[in-house]
């Protein structure tokens, strides 16, 4: 870990301004991802801006019936909130499927959205990795790629986004509220929040330099039955090979989003029209154009079968 300077932010706007002004500055929230990466010198910030003191740890109802989730609400608290459990159970289930109790106690809403890939080469500074060192090459493409992505990827990077929570947020069409360095505020639709790698896999989100996430707003509840089915190699404390988030309405319509298959939570609204036709039809559209490696091609039938089981349960 490189030495760094540290400050406690006083207000969201000041935090954003400082982050844009000071070279190599990063926000630190729960630190459960950032500190690991700093110890390995995958990330080498010169300055940390601690956002934990900003009063962004509240949940408030919105006038339209939605819910605003502060950027610093801990994953544990969000999953346990009665409104979330009643109105957005897919979100509570996704959160509880992630990490471990101790980590969820520290992990924050914004930190979770912005956690970085678990591609093992990204974590090993001896290995080429375009995301860590742009232009150095992608070790995973012809190396160990079993856990990685197969759609939305590029020849420069096939990293998957590891978050469970983000998949549910995408399903719910959340909005990411931010404040920029100049103090202006905006809401980024979650669909536009995570970027695909293209030729610049180091750029992972739509955030401008210094831009701070202040909250995530959830639209009014969708009703229907909620599912978060996470498939993994062990029963707990493992990242998803594949996950399926779904809301299914009594008439068979609904929404589906996938985790573990793409560099961002994967949802295609157009594919959802096929829901009444069954899992195969939806999967074909969702994963059309997928470019799996030999090691992760199994994720395609796995998505279909998992979705199929979810739909069967929704019917039953």
């Amino acid at each position: 870990m490189k030495s760094f300077t540290y400050e406690k932010a006083q207000s969201p706007a000041e935090a954003a301004a400082a982050a844009a002004r000071i070279p190599d500055a990063r926000f630190i929230a729960g630190g459960t991802n950032l500190l690991d990466l700093m110890k390995l010198e995958v990330e080498t910030p010169a300055h940390l801006i601690d956002v934990n003191g900003l009063a962004l740890d509240r949940l408030e109802p919105l006038p339209d019936g939605g819910l605003r989730v502060g950027a610093l609400v801990r994953n544990t608290d969000l999953a346990a909130d009665a409104r979330v459990r009643r109105d957005y159970p897919v979100l509570a289930r996704a959160l509880l499927a992630g990490a471990s109790g101790q980590l969820r106690n520290k992990a924050t809403t914004a930190g979770n959205l912005l956690q970085r890939t678990r591609c093992p080469y990204f974590y090993d500074t001896n290995q080429p990795c375009n995301k860590r060192v742009p232009g150095s090459g992608c070790s995973a493409l012809e190396g160990f790629s079993r856990p990685l992505a197969l759609i939305g990827v590029s020849r420069t990077c096939i990293a998957s986004h590891p978050s469970d929570m983000a998949v549910a947020m995408r399903l719910l069409d959340a909005g990411v509220e931010t404040v920029k360095a100049d103090g202006s505020r905006r809401v980024i639709p979650i669909a536009d929040f995570h970027r695909l790698p293209g030729d610049t896999p180091q750029h992972e989100s739509a955030l401008a330099p210094g831009e701070l996430v202040t909250a995530v707003s959830l639209p009014p509840p969708l009703g229907g039955k909620h599912y978060y089915r996470k498939v993994r190699d062990r029963a707990s404390y493992a990242f998803a090979l594949v996950s399926v988030a779904a809301v299914v309405q009594p008439d068979g319509s609904g929404r589906v989003a996938l985790g573990g298959v793409a560099p961002r939570p994967w949802r295609l609204e157009s594919a959802e029209a096929a829901l009444p036709l069954g899992a195969r039809a939806v999967t074909e559209q969702l994963l059309a154009g997928a470019t799996p490696t030999q090691q992760n091609a199994f994720k395609i039938p796995l998505v279909q079968r998992t979705l199929s089981a979810v739909l069967a349960e929704a019917k039953g």
Binding site: M1, K2, S3, K39, L40, E41, R118, P120, Y121, Y123, D124, T125, N126, Q127, S139, E142, G143, F144, R146, R229, V231, R232, D233, R234, A235, S236, Y237, A238, F239, L241, G278, A279, R280, F298, P301, L302, Q304, R305, T306, S308, A309, A312
Partner: protein, 735 residues
């Protein structure tokens, strides 16, 4: 004391303390965080500096240039140790690769430098400032690709042939010829390799985490070129080892070199991401098994061949070893082949050889039973043997495999097993599986010293280690039993090379051998005590803290030691009883799994192990050993896999997020039953080992249960869902 005749009745048979379920006496220290592990030896040496180990960035080649200038001038840095400035180093005979590499690099993450600084953070930061230029050489990283270059490791284990395998196999009416594979695995113990080293003049003390104190000292002496009597190795508490701490490792050597360079104690722990490639692992195997049987199920031909790889000078994984002994059959062949690989060093991990060997053999037995139309339990019992099948004149000292299988089948409800793929509960396909557990009982010379003080406190000293297994407790039980004392009058001090050399913790020989050494020392002490009490030793009896003679004459042990501490030292040396009798431990594993028919995720639902392993010295810690081993067996069956990057030559998933071992949610109800047994051929303790027996066969039992659940036979471990998916049933609702 020499043990070369079967044990007669002796004080241990009283079983007042031995054989009773006893809490670990080191338990409170561990649960309160007060047991000083190597890195927490705060009292041992003041003001230590911190070392950070740098691993090679390539798998094979040379360091062309190393620039440590920037690192040396970084804040807090006291020294940078490399092969250039470390002085001449030897290599311990038990190490394959050098513990400090350079300029030649033999494997990925081989240590190439130690950065020593005032704080860990400073050392770690400075470590990133080392500039190293490498010249890579091509290496061999793919066992399957170099399989044909493998040769017979004649020294480690030559081929064995009995009868005429080829002829018998050709004639057999029922045959199986199948290939299996097991992956490279990591020990993944909780405590990393860690050492605190301090010099006093030309004497070096290392507080470390090591299973075999005497081996560590010899190999450290060879590596540093020092006489052994200048070295002290201390390892009282060890946070798991599983074989990963059998040998001297880089942390010890580098801490010693660092401490010498700066004239101050130095602490070194391997970082977790370094451990998977820096330290040894269990090597992968490719195995082929051929079985031939008569139509009635009697095996007539058994062949087991296994291929593994290691660095040049390394050894094979002895995966076929147990096949020589497990089942009857007149015509037999076993063969190992060893290829040169440039992956990190392969070496012993819990039940080396047996664990991967039985993962294959016991799956083959399941397949063969099905071909024969026999129940897998009955098929195994039918082919049981009471003698060494290669040398029928040599009996087993005890062999209750059939009892384990029968009793397990009964307890587990084995009769409920149905044909493959036919039992479904909701989304789950349910299956039952069985496998035999089989591991030899090894005995090793072991010594101890016992001291009785004027308060009647008995102190046992031996360099035996406790790697979380319960050694402290069984040793205390043994000494208490021998001297007629309650447990709280016994103090046990372990893991110090100043103490008599013991068997150490390895090969599941520790508990039986080390307690036998304590027994020997206690026999001597009893003589001394009796002498003091004026009682002829043969007439002395020890009970309730007293020694008594024939006429009721006697005194308390405290009184016997009133005029001065009584000390006795001895060791147990083993004769040829293990040559005359095959000593082994046996068990049967029963497993119920549920496989999700949509996702093919496997979850273990129930496990039972029935073991016959001699006298169980402490049923509580023995059970802990077996359930821990069963857990590790589930890991081997379902998830553990060091993924190789075959271009760069290293294990990619080198942390505990990437190398998955079972978590609590993976492990269901586990039941362990020990059959009542004593083995007078093993030692005066009449005990054997259980720590490795527990893992033997588990993987195959899980695999066989998965087959029973799904009808899918996966012969390549671990059985992850991607291997099952292609064969999982298509159901209407999966459309």
């Amino acid at each position: 004391m020499k043990f070369d005749q079967p044990a007669q009745s002796n004080p241990i048979d009283q079983l007042k303390v031995v054989g009773r379920a006893t809490d670990r006496i080191d338990g409170p220290l561990k649960t309160t965080g007060t047991a000083p592990y190597a890195y927490e030896q705060y009292q041992a040496a003041a003001n230590p500096a911190y070392g950070y180990v740098v691993g090679a960035a390539i798998a094979k080649g040379r360091i062309v240039a190393m620039d440590a200038g920037e690192a040396r001038h970084a804040p807090g840095v006291l020294a940078v140790i490399t092969a250039d400035n470390a002085g001449k180093l030897g290599k311990g005979s038990r190490n394959t690769a050098a513990l400090l590499g350079g300029p030649e690099i033999q494997h990925y993450h081989q240590a190439i430098a130690l950065v020593v600084a005032e704080t860990l953070e400073q050392a770690r930061a400075a470590a990133q400032l080392l500039r190293v230029d490498y010249a890579r050489s091509p290496g061999a990283y793919d066992l399957a690709a170099v399989r044909d270059t493998a040769t017979e490791p004649a020294e480690a284990m030559p081929d064995s042939r009995v009868g005429d395998f080829d002829g018998a196999y050709a004639r057999a009416p029922v045959k199986l010829d199948a290939s299996y594979s097991t992956p490279d695995q990591a020990h993944a113990m909780m405590e990393p390799h860690a050492t605190l080293a301090a010099w006093e003049g030309d004497k070096l003390t290392v507080w470390t985490a090591n299973q075999m104190i005497a081996w560590a000292r010899t190999d450290l002496a060879e590596t540093l070129g020092l006489p052994e009597d200048k070295l002290r190795v201390v390892s009282p508490y060890i946070g798991g080892g599983f074989g990963g701490k059998l040998f001297l490792r880089a942390d010890v050597v580098l801490a010693a070199l660092g401490a010498r360079a700066i004239g101050r104690p130095v602490k070194v722990a391997l970082s977790r991401p370094l451990m998977f490639n820096n330290t040894p692992h269990r090597p992968a195997t490719l195995q082929r098994i051929r079985l031939g049987a008569e139509a009635d199920g009697r095996l007539t031909a058994i062949a087991h061949e296994s291929w593994s790889g290691d660095l040049r000078g390394g050894g094979p994984e002895l995966a076929v070893q147990q096949t020589r002994l497990l089942y009857a059959g007149a015509n037999r062949l076993t063969a190992l082949r060893l290829a040169v690989l440039d992956l990190p060093e392969g070496n012993a991990m819990r039940a080396p050889g047996e664990a991967p060997g039985l993962m294959a053999l016991e799956m083959a037995m399941d397949e063969m039973a099905e071909k024969l139309g026999l129940d897998p339990v009955a098929f195994r019992i039918l082919n049981d043997t009471q003698v060494d099948p290669e040398k029928p004149e040599r009996p087993f000292s005890q062999r209750r495999l059939a009892d384990c299988l029968r009793s397990g089948a009964e307890r587990f409800g084995w009769h409920a097993r149905r044909s493959p793929g036919s039992r479904r509960e909701g989304n789950w396909l349910i299956g039952l599986g069985v496998a035999a557990a089989f591991r030899n009982n090894l005995v090793m010379k072991s010594g101890a010293r016992v001291r009785l003080d004027r308060h009647g406190i008995l102190t046992v000293e031996t360099d035996m280690t406790d790697i979380g297994t319960g050694s402290y407790t069984v040793i205390a039980q043994t000494a208490a039993e021998m001297l007629g004392l309650p447990l709280d009058k016994v103090v046990v001090r372990l893991g110090d090379s100043d103490f008599p050399v013991s068997a150490g913790s390895g090969g599941q020989w520790g508990a039986n051998s080390a307690t036998a050494g304590v027994y020997a020392a206690c026999v001597r002490l009893r003589e001394r005590v009796a002498e003091r009490a004026g009682i002829p030793p043969a007439e002395a009896s020890f009970a309730d803290g007293q020694v008594r003679g024939g006429g009721g004459r006697g005194m308390t042990l405290a009184q016997a030691a009133a005029e001065g501490e009584l000390v006795a030292e001895d060791s147990m040396e083993f004769g040829d009883l293990d040559k005359r009798y095959q000593q082994s431990t046996f068990g049967a594993h029963f497993v119920e799994v549920a496989v999700d028919y949509a996702t093919a995720e496997t979850r273990v639902r129930r496990m039972l192990a029935v073991c016959a392993a001699g006298r169980i010295l402490n049923p509580k810690s023995a059970r802990s050993q077996v359930i821990g081993a069963m857990t590790m067996g589930v890991g081997a069956a379902l998830m553990e896999d060091l993924h190789i990057d075959k271009r760069q030559g290293f294990f990619v998933n080198h942390d505990l997020a990437g190398y998955e071992v079972p978590v609590h949610a993976d492990i269901p109800a586990q039941e362990v039953v020990f059959l009542d047994e004593t083995d007078p051929m093993s030692s005066p303790m009449k005990a054997k080992g259980v720590g490795e027996l527990g893992i033997c066969g588990v993987g195959a039992a899980v695999a066989n249960a998965i087959y029973n659940a799904t009808g899918m036979r996966v012969r390549d471990y671990p059985i992850t869902l991607d291997k099952l998916l292609p064969g999982m049933p298509e159901r209407a609702e999966l459309g």
